[in-house]
Every structure is written in structure tokens, then in C-alpha cells.
């Protein structure tokens, strides 16, 4: 499946990601969590080839990603960003169907797939024929997910997909998304800075700090057997209900 082998990234002289290895468990959801600027997006962007790692390799099904094969590899992955990244000049339908049409699918096949995905993501009727600017934030995000799923990729990468939504919309979408991930058995990487969300989605939670992986496991592991004070402070800061803050040396 997808794995990082000793991948590091520097911008100029600053190393934002120390050499990091990570294997994604097929069919499971891995959550990347950590404070802002710790390198979560950078890892995702390396996985989809938006940026190249300074060191190390990314392998997809055992094949190393290269500039030569990245375009084809991307078609086996779906990538969702905050607010969906929908193209303003295309209707919702054309946004979702763009790549499939480009690859030569006929109209009927595209439309059948669209109906299927609309049902799956519980997109309201009629939304497909509107333009992004005419849709709500939650609807735009559902379309972003439909677009990522269009070619039925093996891997889904989501970078704070719910970051811009208000709590009630966010709650519904979280429920729907987890249902989708589980029923489709996708290999998912989801970035968040919200521990509650991480626990809700994550089969595995990866806590990042200072450009490296600090602890990797279940949410319960982190609460009960934190690897160090940084983990404890991070958990305390989330004010999870039912979890008493633990003592740490003040920083």
C-alpha cells in the first residue's frame, strides 16, 4: 500500500520534517495530529507528489513515486482539502466528473457514478447542477469527497476536511464520512488538530511534534501511556470530557 521510507523535507535551510517512516495499514484510517506547523500537510503533500521529499522514498504498492509516474499514481489516490478546492467555473457535476470525462468515460457512465456517489455522501437533490458559489460549505465538502472518490481510488488523503465547517454540519459530515470509509474499506489518511475527531476516525493515531512522529497508536494508548510530557500536554490541552488532566512540569 502507501509507505514513507525515511522521508525528510527541508525548505531552504529549515528542516520541517525529520527523516520519518510510516506504513499505512490497508483498509484502515490513520489520523495525523499535532499542533499547527508541525508538518502534517507536508506529509500529505509528499504522498500525493505536490512536493518532492528532500530525502527518502514514498512507495505506492511497492513502486517508488517519481516525477515520471506520479500523474498516473495520483489517479489511484483521492485528495481532499479544506473547503473542497472546487473549480468555480464548473458546475458541481462537472467538477466531480472532470477527470473521468477527460479520461474518456461516456456521459452515461459518468452520470451513473455521480448518482451513486451523491447517494453515498448524502448530497441533497439538485446540488449537482449548481455552481460551487451557490452551495453551502458542507455541500462543497461533500462534493470534494465525491470528486476524490470518482475513480474509486485505493487511498484517500484528507487535509483538515472539516476545518471550516460549523459544529452541527461538521457532526453530520463526520458521521457520514466514517460510514463511507468503513463501508468502502478505503485506506485513509486524515489530518486534524482535534483529538476528539482523531479518536472518532482513527484506527491508528500518529502524533507529530517538532517535525517528527512522537507517538503512534490508539487514542487510549496516548491517554494512558503517553510517550513523554509533550504527549501529555497535548492531551491535556484538548480538554477531552472524562479525561482528567495529568501533572506535567510546566513548560
Amino acid at each position: 500500500m502507501l509507505e514513507l521510507i525515511a522521508v525528510a523535507k527541508s525548505f531552504g535551510k529549515t528542516q520541517v520534517l525529520k527523516p520519518t517512516s510510516l506504513v499505512l495499514e490497508p483498509g484502515k484510517t490513520t489520523v495525523l495530529i499535532g499542533p499547527s506547523g508541525c508538518g502534517k500537510s507536508t506529509i500529505l503533500r509528499i504522498m500525493i507528489g505536490l512536493i518532492e521529499p528532500s530525502e527518502g522514498t514514498v512507495k505506492f504498492d511497492g513502486v517508488a513515486l517519481t516525477p515520471g509516474n506520479i500523474m498516473l499514481m495520483r489517479r489511484k489516490m483521492g485528495y481532499v482539502i479544506q473547503d473542497g478546492g472546487l473549480f468555480p467555473h464548473l458546475s458541481a457535476r462537472d467538477n466531480v466528473g472532470l477527470l473521468a470525462r477527460y479520461l474518456g468515460w461516456d456521459k452515461q457512465r459518468v452520470n451513473e457514478r455521480l448518482e451513486e456517489l451523491a447517494k453515498l455522501t448524502r448530497l441533497p437533490d439538485g446540488a449537482l447542477d449548481r455552481f460551487p458559489s451557490q452551495l453551502s460549505g458542507g455541500q462543497r465538502q461533500r462534493l470534494g469527497i465525491m470528486r476524490a472518490l470518482m475513480l474509486d481510488p485505493d487511498v484517500l488523503l484528507l487535509d483538515e476536511p472539516m476545518g471550516a465547517l460549523d459544529p452541527l454540519v461538521r457532526y453530520d459530515l463526520q458521521e457520514d464520512l466514517r460510514g463511507i470509509f468503513q463501508s468502502l474499506k478505503k485506506t485513509v489518511v486524515l489530518v486534524t488538530h482535534d483529538m476528539g475527531e482523531a479518536g472518532f476516525f482513527g484506527d491508528t493515531v500518529v502524533l507529530l511534534g517538532g517535525g517528527e512522529i512522537v507517538q503512534q497508536g490508539t487514542l487510549a494508548d496516548m491517554i494512558h501511556t503517553p510517550a513523554n510530557d509533550y504527549v501529555t500536554r497535548f492531551i491535556n490541552a484538548q480538554r477531552l470530557p472524562g479525561v482528567e488532566p495529568k501533572e506535567v512540569a510546566t513548560s
Partner: protein, 514 residues
């Protein structure tokens, strides 16, 4: 990217330019082509040459009012015209400058090397002169510039005022030369020529500079002071023609040379007066002169004014549209790929934007002076100049429109797995379409205005009546060009607003709330 460029048509652009030019040029050239610079005097004499040439051959055309000396001389050298009226002073001081020509024989020798010939002088000498009101001059007993210098020295009269045009004040053969030679120590004021005449009339000025055939000399009853120390260079009018005219049309040449020595200063001034002050048509004035002075009867067909206006309007409109359309379509086909390149390759961004920016700053007159020797007269150099001026807005807006697309949208297209080309055509260009179209609109509107330079090089269009109107101080003629040009700009603007509805995707217009 390479495929995009090959797709986008450098070859198509060239074809388009060539085809449109071929369509615009008149295929059957007349036997004799007369040119003229755009001053009243030169256009009258150009008409006169044309009448004479037509009488002898029945096949002559006047490329009237072709802008400045450089353009007309270049056209003569290139063979786009066969003959025009020039001045000996202009030949020695300007055209053959640097070749140290002094006498008329020097000029002839230098011209012979270019296969050009100059006739004997026509008679009048249109040089700088100093003039004052005739009655005042008589009262002050001033006949010559030396008299003036003497009186000026001894005068304490505060009214003793000199007012000269800025050109005369600056030119080496103008006031600086007079001042030294005649030893003036007055300090003249610089002012516009038309104001100077009024100043003389009202008495606030005593002396101004003139051209010795200006119609105002008669109108304001001015006296030209005798240049007794021969300070001003001589500007004798001559016929300048291509040597091959002798073999190609000997009869015509013989007829033209009948003008040698026949037009003196007062005759020329009278003709200038009839056109400039009385608004007679230049062709009639030229025909009358030939009839009365040379007993040569020529036909200058009289036509009803409205017929002429209507026919000219249709012709100018067609030509103006042709200039704008050809130059704009060529510019779009070249500028669009350039803008895409500038966006695509950061290394060439500065180069491309810099070069089209510099082109924009070259004055249109300079572009024409450069183009005429290469492309001749007519629509070709005009289209070329307009084409060059259209590049900047289109290149710049294409580049800016692509460059300002938010990074997350560009990345969304990348991560989908679209090829570079597909991203450009399916995502980036449509999103930038509003900006690109705005650039083309700007170019089109500017083009409608700039196309009036066509009047300077015989390309036609609304520039023709505008420039003639300016030359003749004929407001109604000027408006016959200026009003349609302004209306056309408005129409073009409107057309582009309609086009925007067709070209700019609905989603983008919704997103902006219009």
C-alpha cells in the same frame, strides 16, 4: 507545453496577417503614384502633380498627406510613390544630413546615388522669415532685418516685442543664427504661432517668425523683412522623382516639369490662402492655377458634397475596421501563447513582459518611420504598428489572469491527475478567461483610437478625415473622422461585453455576483 504552442498557432497567425494584407491591397497599381507630405502647401502641389500626371497618362493616383518627411522620402526610395514635392533646404539639412551637401549640384549628386532626381526649382522659396505689420514697418522705416536690428537697438519703446514659435527659438538655423548674425540683444517670448498672428494684429507683438508662403501674410497684411545678410537657408520647392520615371512615363515627366520656375511666392501664398482661409478644395485650387498660369486644362471632377461625404464614410469605416480586425486577431494569436509562456516559465517572464512593455512606449510616429522602409506605405505598416501596440494588454492580462489563480485551485487540478496541458485548457485558462478577455478588449479599444495613424501613411480609415481636418482647420471634416471613431470604440466595448457572456463561464460570473 511544446504541444500547446504548436497548437496555438504561430503559423496560423502569420497566415492570417498575410491573407488579410493581401485582401486589403489594391491589386492593380496605377502607372504614376504621387505622394505628398501633410501640409496644406504640399497637398495642393501633390494634387497639381497628380492632375498633370493624369492628363498625360490617364493613370495617376495621389497618396495624399503621408505624414512627415521621413515617411514620404522612405516611400519614394522604396518605390511606393514615384514623385513628390520637396524643399532644397530639407534635402540638404535633413534628408542628406551628414553628407555635407552645400550646393544644389551636391544635392543632385547625392540623390543620383539613390536613383533619384530633383527638378529645377518651382520658383518659390518657403523659408523662415521675420514679419511685421506692413503699416508699422513703413512707419518705422524698416525694410530689412538689418533695419530691424538697428531700430531695435536704439528703441526704448516697451512695445518693442519679439514673439517667436518654440521651434524657431530652438532650431539652430532659426533665432540663434539670426541673433548672432544681425547682433540682436532682445529677449523674445516663445508662443504658439496662431497666437503670434493675433499678437501682431493687436499690437502686443511687433515681430514674429513666419514661413514665407504662409497665408496669414496676406490675411494680416504683414511685411516680410528682407534677409539682407542671407541668414536663413533656402527652401526652394523642387519636384523629387525616381529616375525610372523618365523611362516608364516620359510624357508624364515632361508634363510635371512644366511647373519649373512657374510658381512664385505670391502665387503659392495665394493658393495656400484659398485652401486654409477660404476652405476651397485643394484639387480645385491646383486645377485653377494650372488653367490660369499654364493654360493647361485638367479635369477635377466636381461632386456633390453629400455624395463625397457618404462615399468617404463607407470607405473609411471599412478600412478602419479592417485595420483593427487584422491587427487584433494577429495580436491575439501571438500574445496569448506569449502570456502563457510568461506564466509557465518563470525564467522568461521578465523578458517577455519587458519586451512587450518597451514596444508599447515607442511613439507611433517612430514605429511608422521604421516600418515604411520595410513594408512600404498603406495598410501593411499600419497593421504592423497596431499589432505591436496590441501585444502588451493581452500578454499582461493573460499572464496576470493565470498567475492570480489561487494556489489551492491549481493544486486541486494537479492532484486529480490531469496532465499539464489538460490543466491549462480545462482549468486555468477558463478561470483566467475574464482577465484575458479584458486584455483583448483593452487592446481593441486602444486600437480603434490608434488606427487613426493610418491616415499618416495612406492606410486610410478615420485618421484620414481627422488629419485632413486638422491640417485645414476644418472642424466638420475632423468630426467626420472623430465621431465615428468614438462611436466605434463604444460599439467595440459593447461587443466585448456581449462576448464576455459567451466566453466567460457562467460559474465565474455567478461567483462574482453578476
Amino acid at each position: 507545453m511544446r504541444s500547446i504552442v504548436s497548437l496555438t498557432v504561430f503559423p496560423a497567425a502569420l497566415l492570417l496577417i498575410l491573407a488579410s494584407i493581401a485582401a486589403a491591397e489594391t491589386p492593380n497599381l496605377p502607372l504614376v503614384r504621387v505622394g505628398s507630405k501633410s501640409s496644406i502647401e504640399n497637398v495642393i502641389l501633390g494634387e497639381m502633380l497628380t492632375l498633370l500626371a493624369d492628363q498625360a497618362s490617364g493613370d495617376a493616383r495621389h497618396q495624399s498627406a503621408l505624414g512627415g518627411t521621413q515617411i514620404v522620402f522612405a516611400a519614394l526610395k522604396k518605390g511606393d510613390i514615384d514623385v513628390y514635392i520637396e524643399y532644397t533646404g530639407t534635402l540638404s539639412q535633413e534628408i542628406l544630413k551628414g553628407q555635407r551637401v552645400r550646393s544644389d549640384d551636391d544635392i543632385r549628386a547625392a540623390l543620383a546615388k539613390l536613383d533619384l532626381v530633383m527638378s529645377q526649382p518651382l520658383g518659390f522659396n518657403n523659408t523662415y522669415a521675420l514679419g511685421m505689420k506692413a503699416d508699422v514697418a513703413e512707419k518705422m522705416k524698416i525694410q530689412t532685418i538689418s533695419d530691424l536690428a538697428r531700430v531695435a537697438k536704439s528703441s526704448t519703446d516697451p512695445q518693442f516685442k519679439f514673439g517667436f514659435s518654440d521651434e524657431f527659438l530652438k532650431r539652430g538655423d532659426g533665432w540663434p543664427a539670426v541673433k548672432v548674425l544681425y547682433q540682436f540683444d532682445n529677449v523674445p517670448t516663445g508662443l504658439d504661432h496662431s497666437l503670434a498672428y493675433r499678437g501682431l494684429h493687436s499690437g502686443t507683438l511687433l515681430v514674429t517668425d513666419l514661413y514665407s508662403t504662409d497665408p496669414e501674410i496676406a490675411k494680416y497684411r504683414l511685411k516680410i523683412l528682407d534677409d539682407d545678410l542671407a541668414c536663413f537657408p533656402e527652401y526652394h520647392a523642387v519636384i523629387l522623382y525616381r529616375e525610372d520615371l523618365k523611362d516608364r512615363a516620359p510624357q508624364v515627366l515632361q508634363n510635371l516639369l512644366k511647373l519649373e520656375g512657374k510658381i512664385d511666392n505670391s502665387a503659392m501664398m495665394e493658393m495656400n490662402t484659398r485652401v486654409r482661409i477660404d476652405h476651397d478644395r485643394d484639387v480645385n485650387v491646383a486645377g485653377d492655377f494650372l488653367l490660369s498660369k499654364l493654360k493647361i486644362e485638367t479635369q477635377s471632377g466636381e461632386e456633390k458634397k453629400w455624395v463625397v461625404i457618404g462615399r468617404d464614410f463607407v470607405r473609411n469605416t471599412t478600412r478602419h475596421l479592417l485595420l483593427v480586425f487584422c491587427s487584433l486577431s494577429a495580436a491575439v494569436t501571438v500574445a496569448l501563447p506569449l502570456g502563457i509562456w510568461a506564466y509557465e516559465y518563470p525564467k522568461v517572464t521578465h523578458g517577455i513582459l519587458g519586451i512587450v512593455g518597451i514596444i508599447q512606449t515607442i511613439p507611433s510616429m517612430a514605429v511608422l518611420v521604421f516600418m515604411v522602409p520595410l513594408l512600404g506605405l498603406g495598410v501593411k505598416p499600419a497593421i504592423m504598428a497596431l499589432f505591436l501596440y496590441s501585444l502588451l494588454p493581452i500578454v499582461r492580462n493573460t499572464y496576470a489572469g493565470l498567475n492570480e489563480i489561487p494556489a489551492n485551485l491549481k493544486e486541486s487540478a494537479i492532484v486529480l491527475g490531469l496532465s499539464r496541458q489538460a490543466r491549462l485548457y480545462l482549468v486555468e485558462l477558463p478561470i483566467a478567461s475574464r482577465s484575458i478577455l479584458a486584455g483583448i478588449k483593452t487592446a481593441a479599444v486602444i486600437n480603434v483610437g490608434t488606427a487613426t495613424i493610418g491616415g499618416l501613411i495612406g492606410a486610410g480609415g478615420y485618421g484620414e478625415p481627422i488629419l485632413t481636418g486638422i491640417r485645414l482647420a476644418d472642424v466638420s471634416l475632423l468630426l467626420q473622422g472623430a465621431i465615428p471613431a468614438a462611436l466605434l470604440a463604444v460599439v467595440v466595448q459593447g461587443l466585448f461585453e456581449l462576448l464576455e457572456r459567451l466566453v466567460v463561464p457562467q460559474g465565474l460570473r455567478l461567483a462574482r455576483g453578476d
